[in-house]
């Protein structure tokens, strides 16, 4: 099973790096993203990029953004380019195809995120040197690594479900774009319409909460959702249905 998953990942990465251009251009795109998230944003944020818990937001949304760029193509792209049926006619097990595509997107996004955040701490230290090395706190590192992995898996789970159903990549991208907007904006808008007393109570609750427990709770909740999404994608993946769709 693992060699089959790795085979699919190999092919997915090759395709991502060769998209509509050469391998050199593909790597350049990756480097550009690492430069934006690892140099440009940390330069703008300064020392806060390393010390503020707000940075966890970046650890969370950067992988989501990177995964959604790739995962929409996973099945809808194969269907649109007429390569899906040949892939399904091969000896690869269903789970290997599904996990290979999800893990390729997750590993790519997680890798770029970790590289960006490592570069970010170097950038902040070089640009804002104050006589001592500034580092993420151990809690921030552990939380960030976990959160970025889990949000990447979350985006991959939702994305693969959408891509399994979509007939074109564009349709999958549009649906995923809408889903991302809903996930990001609905909580913000909902907070805005709550009565002021409720908003204050929530704010007080967040301030009083033990940050480590809150982080662990969030990670557990994300992990549970990820497991449900993988199970749903596994249930949805039926060769006959994919061919007839």
């Amino acid at each position: 099973m693992i060699p089959d998953v790795l085979t699919i990942m190999w092919k997915e990465w090759k395709e991502v790096l060769l998209q509509r251009s050469g391998m050199r251009r593909g790597w350049l795109n990756v480097l550009l993203m690492v430069a934006v998230f690892g140099v440009f944003l940390p330069l703008q944020a300064g020392k806060d990029w390393v010390t503020s818990p707000i940075v966890l937001g970046s650890w969370a949304w950067v992988p989501i953004m990177l995964v959604t760029n790739i995962i929409a193509d996973s099945f809808a792209g194969e269907r649109e380019r007429h390569t899906l049926e040949t892939l399904l006619a091969s000896r690869l097990p269903d789970t290997a195809i599904l996990l290979g595509k999800m893990l390729a997107a997750v590993a790519y996004a997680w890798g770029v995120t970790l590289a960006s955040l490592t570069l970010g701490v170097i950038t902040v230290n070089l640009a804002h040197w104050e006589g001592r090395l500034v580092m993420y706190s151990p809690h921030l590192i552990a939380g960030g690594i976990g959160i970025s992995l889990l949000t990447a898996a979350l985006a991959a789970g939702v994305g693969v479900l959408v891509s399994l159903r979509a007939s074109t990549v564009r349709q999958a991208q549009q649906t995923l774009g809408m889903a991302t907007l809903l996930v990001v904006w609905v909580p913000i808008l909902a907070m805005g319409v709550l009565p002021a007393s409720w908003q204050q109570a929530i704010g007080r609750g967040l301030q009083a909460a033990d940050s480590i427990s809150a982080l662990l709770g969030a990670m557990l909740a994300l992990a549970a959702v990820d497991v449900v999404l993988v199970a749903a994608a596994r249930a949805r993946f039926r060769r006959a249905r994919l061919i007839l769709d």
Binding site: R81, H82, T83, E85, A89, R239
Partner: protein, 310 residues
């Protein structure tokens, strides 16, 4: 029974009220090229999907390489190759990467993958262009590469779904020649669907004719000709008037006579012996310059079967 690679019994697949495959009973022996002929929408592609276990049958059963398509489709796909309706190539990858990917899929060791890739691409005249992106290639080259991909892991059986469809005549001939050469060399059994009868005539040792999901006839091209197409003769000469035609029509071995551009076309019964007819023509004063005998082409057989079915 053991040398059968495909055996279906009353195999059916319905989509609502449409019977894409209807009670198909078929046996394909090992080591041959089997042609599955039929017009568009006859059920050829659905049959391949059923045999590969990609679709569940509505009724009946099928065994491929001794494995049941319902319960052991994974085992079937392990030992088969396929070039389906579309070439299924990754156009953003090079030809070499496409074969590398499918070599990994079939868990071929790296050294064997490289050797086999070189062997197949060189055989198909594509080795020098192996680093090019497949998206830049002509359709004929893509079909050749897809053929190489289907044969890469040395499968016992390959399914080819209209491999020359959409190619120009030169491309189709090239693919057909490569296909014949490669399959003969590899000793692989081929299940080939086509609506190109010349292709079937050239490549296939056995053919099955399907229409609206039902198998109309099966056998070697010669058997089908004998079964559905009478022997015929064309006689070139002079003096073929109405009286001569009447005399020929009266002969028991002649079933049909037509005169076109001074040339007689006869449809015959039995073994198609033309000597007595030539004697008759000469005896009534006609002059015979040339006699051409022949059997019905597979195309004529096919059209006859389609007509009978209506």
């Amino acid at each position: 029974m053991s040398d059968l690679v495909i055996r279906t019994e009353e195999l059916s697949r319905h989509f609502g009220s449409v019977r894409a495959v209807d009670s198909l009973s078929l046996e394909v022996p090992a080591g041959i090229v089997f042609g599955f002929l039929g017009p568009n929408g006859a059920g050829k592609t659905t049959t391949i999907r059923l045999l590969l276990g990609l679709l569940e049958p509505t009724g009946g059963r099928a065994c491929v390489l001794g494995f049941d398509t319902r319960r052991e489709s994974d085992r079937i796909r392990e030992q088969c190759g396929a070039l389906l309706e579309h070439s299924g190539l990754y156009e953003r990858l090079s030809a070499e990467d496409n074969l590398e990917f499918y070599g990994r899929v079939w868990r071929m060791p790296p050294a064997e993958r490289r050797k086999r890739t070189q062997e197949l691409l060189a055989h198909l005249g594509l080795w020098e262009r192996r680093h090019e992106l497949v998206g830049t290639w002509s359709r004929g080259m893509k079909q050749k590469l897809a053929l190489a991909r289907a044969l890469l892991h040395r499968p016992r059986l390959i399914f080819l779904d209209e491999p020359t469809a959409g190619l120009d005549p030169v491309g189709a001939v090239a693919v057909r020649e490569d296909l014949a050469r490669l399959t003969a060399r590899e000793g692989v059994t081929v299940f080939l669907t086509t609506h190109n009868l010349a292709e079937a005539e050239k490549l296939c040792q056995q053919v099955g004719v399907i229409r609206e999901g039902r198998l109309l006839a099966v056998g070697s091209p010669d058997e089908l000709r004998t079964r559905t197409g009478a022997p015929r003769a064309q006689i070139v000469g002079r003096g073929f008037d109405e009286r001569v035609l009447e005399l020929l029509r009266a002969r028991p071995e002649v079933t049909d006579v037509r005169l076109h551009d001074g040339q007689l076309s006869l449809e015959l019964r039995g073994d198609g012996d033309t000597a007595p007819l030539v004697s008759l023509l000469v005896s009534v004063g006609a002059q015979v310059e040339e006699v051409r005998k022949g059997k019905a082409s597979l195309e004529e057989v096919f059209l006859t079967l389609m007509e009978e079915e209506r």
